[in-house]
Symmetry: D2
Subunit: 277 residues, 4 copies
């Protein structure tokens, strides 16, 4: 399995979120507390948006995040108002750059924690459902990239929640056809650079952990002494596989079978239900 985080808000140095927190994603790469595996050392990636960028920049590498000097460099020198970061623990597919998250298609980025159960049995049928034009762009061998391209096939760019629901419904249907009882396990983040959507779902209704940060205004009242909170805007928000620290009141679990939208104005949370594709 894996761990990830998604940031949206005041432009900050990636280091502030990636390395500085007590239980940062880099710390989680060695000592995950809530993950299936404590070690997430099979590759990593970041994707970030910035001024005038038509597409997000994506930096992915094999090997552990904790010892990667280039990641350290980029985190120290790149600022962004919206970025993804992901550390990987493979469930069997090869450790290679094309299997690292986030995946990108045009302006869109996608990352995933979880698995399609018994993917080797359903992989071919799932691949056949991907739009032939999109099929050409698939480069890796993971279930996560397959989910992204199925969601793109099912309309991700027009209706993200609907497309992800249809992807989940399709994965479950194909899984059931192959006798897989619980075909899907996922927390997913997706963005086009302005809004972010985060999904928590599993066929068994025992989904991997997912948390979102408390609104900055409320946190400032709880922790008036924390300088960081004065520097970021009210709209700043983090979504994470596991909390980056133990700050009381800072983290809220995303409920089972739920998705959230991070956008200008109030964020929203909705029930997530797979749909027929």
């Amino acid at each position: 399995m894996c761990r990830w985080l998604a940031y949206s808000g005041t432009p900050i140095l990636l280091d502030t979120i990636l390395y500085k927190p007590e239980h940062s994603l880099i710390d989680q790469s060695l000592h995950s507390r809530l993950g299936v595996e404590t070690t997430n050392g099979d590759g990593f990636g970041i994707g970030w948006y910035g001024d005038g960028m038509k597409t997000p920049g994506v930096f992915r590498d094999i090997g552990p995040a904790w010892s990667n000097r280039n990641l350290r460099e980029l985190a120290d020198h790149i600022r962004s108002p919206l970025f993804f970061a992901h550390i990987r623990a493979t469930t069997g597919t090869a450790v290679q750059q094309t299997n690292c998250h986030p995946f990108r298609h045009g302006r869109w980025m996608w990352m995933h924690n979880g698995a399609i159960a018994e993917f080797h049995r359903t992989r071919r049928d799932l691949a056949l459902a991907v739009d032939p034009q999109l099929f050409l762009d698939m480069e890796g061998s993971t279930d996560s990239e397959m989910m992204f391209y199925l969601a793109l096939t099912f309309g991700l760019e027009d209706d993200p929640p609907g497309a992800v629901a249809r992807m989940a419904g399709f994965v479950e249907r194909v899984g059931h056809e192959h006798g897989v009882e619980y075909p899907l396990q996922m927390t997913v983040a997706v963005t086009e650079g302005r809004r972010m959507w985060a999904f928590r779902y599993s066929s068994q209704k025992q989904s991997r952990s997912l948390f979102y940060s408390t609104r900055v205004q409320a946190l400032r009242q709880l922790h008036p002494d924390l300088g960081f909170l004065q520097e970021v805007s009210d709209e700043t928000r983090l979504i994470v596989s596991e909390p980056l620290g133990d700050l009381p009141g800072a983290w809220n679990e995303v409920p089972e079978s739920t998705y959230g939208v991070v956008e200008d104005g109030d964020d929203e949370m909705h029930t997530f239900t797979p749909q027929a594709a």
Copy 2:
């Protein structure tokens, strides 16, 4: 494109063939004379058989062969009576271990120089033709691996020349359906550890170069002073993308649209014609 060599004969240190010759494969990685590109630095691989080994050992890595210290180590310390070596120059697909040759399936190994023209257009249709059970084992994204799995689907383990002919016929048919005039360009080597088959073919009948070594008995008469020739058996044979040196009389071009079989007793050479799958 790429360069490769296949060795069969008296067990020798890989170094003898990989590094020692004047224009060795390692030299070809920097200075190919007959290849489409002079540099072949996008990954490499070796595969070798040995005493009591049920499957060949395969060592593949990204990056250039010329600077790889582990390849140097293995060449210095592994002896084998039958081995493949390959250096890669990508035609676009990712530089990753799962795209490096030789590919292995059970006791079988496969390596390729050339390309399926406009592979991105035909890749999906070709993938659909791979036996669903075999499909699960495909890990990379190259045309070369696809050709291997198509050949396996079409009976490689029972009838290598026939299966490769059916693979070539199928690739050409699908290519033509997509409007590709010359769909296939290939020199291919395949083995199960005892016999080797080498194919030279292209739809345009302008195939990449391929050479086989002169019989050792004849070479000894030509070059009685070469100690190396005294040490290897009469059955020792090399097949190479380009000659490893300028020894007069040592290298013979495999004719266009031809395949050869290296086995106990006299080797054979036959016309190669793609067949309907």
Copy 3:
């Protein structure tokens, strides 16, 4: 810190020791029980001797051992009567091939778990003491390689225990000169391909764990049902950072400040005391 193992005895497939045991070195790379860190994912290496080999073969790579497919291949296809294996957890120096163990000099190999305390302060003085001819061969930046070259300088090839004692004495003297209270922490294995020496020592007398396997004859009586014990010779011996499993009676701790010699005939164990260089 790190974990390592040294094998001497009946030639076996590396896989038998590296992957098969319940708590193998590969398992220790993710879940070390007795190490300072549970994860040892900053590179690894193996070194092996074989028939007719003038020097040991050494295969080292960055990245974790647990996901390295080439290590898996070599373990499945190489047999050896004497080999070293090492997994690394860096104490700060770069993750690069030249910092991976085992280190080799001619026929000799060296690997280390532990550290020279505050190495950055003493590194220059230690480097100055290395024989100028040997200095040229140092390629990495670790304390471990420095210890090897100091031991070589102090006569390792003629008197291994004496040279290691002089190295330890010198490291402690230089450390004390720089105000370091406990300069040295080490378990070290060294070999020339026939005999092996293993050292357990630390300035503070709280050395990293080290174990040796019980004599095969005794183990056979304890576990008459274990087929593996019937297949290996009486002289077969393992020295390991931590036991490879929970087999009762199989593992014995090397006492503090001790070194052992594995050779033909009875092995020996002696007190280890640093000496003036």
Copy 4:
């Protein structure tokens, strides 16, 4: 040997200089025209300054630049008013990140093409001359890094031309003491983020090629149709190992034994003479 470029001027996307030109540095990694080797595939690096950055960001990796996707990503998404880029062809030292250029110390960056002749013979004596405090920061094993740290020892941060002259004088003196006739071959670029210094010198007075771009004002008159020239400021300047294209009048050779300073106002060119350290 190697190839490099240094850019100073209007902030631009790295891609504009690194990939876009007909004979870009990426093209030179495969097809260098003026270098000692046509292939420069043994690692690469970029270093860039930007708004509010206290130190330059440095991204270095092993393997060829031409196939590195992360370099492609950074070039497409990072803008900078002053950056270095370097492609490496090793003269023997290991292919590892700590041997890739540019090297950084605080705000300073350094890159080099050339070699200290017979470095293995003089390396130890040169290392002894490095300031003990600086010695701790050396991580690699190249002559290039050694030159940087010697220059730092000899006052680079206060007087770059003087420090480089003393470094060159010292390298030549030590070389001569070891019987090396022509100890030094170098083109070097160094910067603190505001000014750049570029040096062309060799003991034999047959230095590697080095070119600087014609002043933008003059180029605009020569090529009024080139849109790119309208977009960059008068102060924009490139220094390169070999020209990035065949634009008439665009490139001028730096004379033998010369160094130049790129800074606000008119640039300067001076004779370079090694000095006693």
